[in-house]
Symmetry: C2
């Protein structure tokens, strides 16, 4: 039996029909259209899934799984989805269920991304996994004994807002010293811009064209070319990543830590700088045996994870 | 059926016979005698349990549980027990099993303390709990779905060595900016001593007699009497406690956080300063609904937890 996985992002919706071995049979995508408000986002989800129904045998789909920003309780988005205006309070599960007449399940998008990577990606075979998605912010997901760990109210693994610098920078969340203020792509971009102000000769600037459009990719690419300013920025990010990931290793004692999200596209260099810093922030016993790896499934992890989730939840229900 | 719980500390061994409802039927204690080396510590454990055998019907004891500093793998202490010299490598379970001919189980002492508080103490009724023991260092234990969470190699919940200040103080563990360097009783004592140097009029000094013997209790007592220097020290500790506990709430999303160990004897004042700081370091959704409470069982939590552990492990084995 196949299931459908939907990955709802702030910019795009991607979805796919996934078989029992985690293979995507067909895919569809569209814009999220947040400026059109809640109902518009819902119609776009409907449209995206409808597109799949055209491409495949819809009768053969047993359930729909949806990964959404924020936390979900009893099928309703209860908060933490600030990048989709008016999304809090939407009865996501019942709206999709009504529309397609298929059992529907929803959870946090990073959580389901984690499930995808854990089962069919970089974590395959491991039972205890911590996954980070490092992009605009830093999201997290945790697998314990092969199962998603979501805490007492679906809010666990808020990795990005872990304090790593108690007297540090203010974060968008209102907190102080949060991990994502130091180690997200956003933080790397900011540091890259500062770096080219000090050293306009940096390859970062050559790659980007101008300061205002510097991306994290530019910084990593320049670092790979041994640009001194870029290497400094990347090492500094690695130092912070080491502190945050070290905390997760000390607390969750996982077999595998998966680095996903945009920053993971930097490749091996990111693993190297994390490795350097980890020894300072993780106990020897905890560090022994843990593997730090890059995510494998790219953007499809969210689709696959949502589809796997739907299948598992359907089984529990039966 | 009753079980025996043994709580092995750096200074004292305490043990007790515990019934199926978590009630201690009889207790015994002795010095750990670490200066006598590994074999001396083992004989003291034997002697302590032997004392129980004299006081109770030993036939009626189904199993023995032992909480030890460090991590335990397959009955052997594998590390992290630095305060008992030469303790690493001791085949604790088989040695005690041979001596008493009872099924024996061992795990980390703070973990079993957590289990005791979780089941029969401050966490009774909750399924998802984080427990901290704040004393010389900061230990931690986590309960998920009513079960101990120990990670992939019995090293989870190393709360004290979570980085909360990435560019901060060096810790005994070799790391930097560890939670326990800022918020343990040791850190509070250090800050108290610094405070009376600046302000020798402080009640802290009156209570302690002289600077070199200031305890965390003196600092808390002076704070309760509104001593300005003491209040500053306690608020500062609370600020750090808030950062560390905030992280745990963001990551584990527990129903209850239990504050145990020596510092918990300070009472309500410690909860107040933590409360103040938590809002800055924990997400609103995670903070909603979580209860921060003081441990209830005092020094008996370790005995009760070890006894409960023995009963549970015996059941799994059968």
């Amino acid at each position: 039996m196949n299931t459908i996985g939907v990955d709802l992002g702030g910019t795009n919706i991607v979805c796919g029909v996934v078989d029992g071995e985690g293979r995507i049979i067909c895919k569809n995508s569209c814009k999220t259209g947040i400026s059109g408000g809640r109902e518009n986002v819902l119609s776009n989800i409907f449209m995206c899934v409808d597109g799949l129904a055209q491409k495949t045998d819809f009768e053969d789909v047993s359930a729909i799984g949806i990964g959404t920003p924020g936390a979900v309780d009893k099928g309703v988005v209860i908060g933490g989805a600030e990048n989709i205006p008016d999304w809090k309070g939407v009865a996501l599960v019942s709206r999709v269920e009504e529309k397609f007449n298929k059992p529907t399940f929803a959870s946090n998008d990073v959580t389901l991304y984690t499930l995808g990577e854990a089962i069919y990606g970089a974590g395959a075979g491991a039972k205890s996994i911590v996954c980070l998605t490092i992009g605009t912010g830093i999201g997290g997901g945790v697998i314990i004994d092969g199962e998603l760990f979501r805490g007492s109210s679906d809010c666990a693994a808020e990795v990005g807002h872990m304090t790593i610098n108690v007297d540090g920078r203010k974060c968008n969340c209102g907190g102080v010293g949060c991990f994502e203020s130091y180690a997200s792509a956003t933080a790397i971009i900011k540091a890259g811009r500062e770096a080219v102000k000090v050293n306009p000769e940096s390859i970062i600037l050559t790659l980007a064209g101008e300061e205002s459009v510097i991306t994290a990719e530019d910084v990593f690419e320049a670092a790979k070319r041994k640009d001194k300013s870029a290497l400094e920025v990347v090492r500094e990010a690695g130092r912070y990543l080491g502190a945050g990931i070290g905390n997760l290793i000390n607390l969750f004692n996982p077999e595998v830590v998966i680095i996903g999200g945009g920053v993971s596209r930097a490749g091996e260099i990111i693993l190297e700088v994390i490795d350097e810093a980890l020894k300072r922030h993780s106990l020897e016993a905890n560090l022994r045996g843990v593997r730090i790896v890059l995510a494998k499934l790219g953007d499809t992890a969210g689709i696959i994870g949502a589809a796997v989730f739907a299948g598992r939840e359907l089984e529990k229900k039966d």
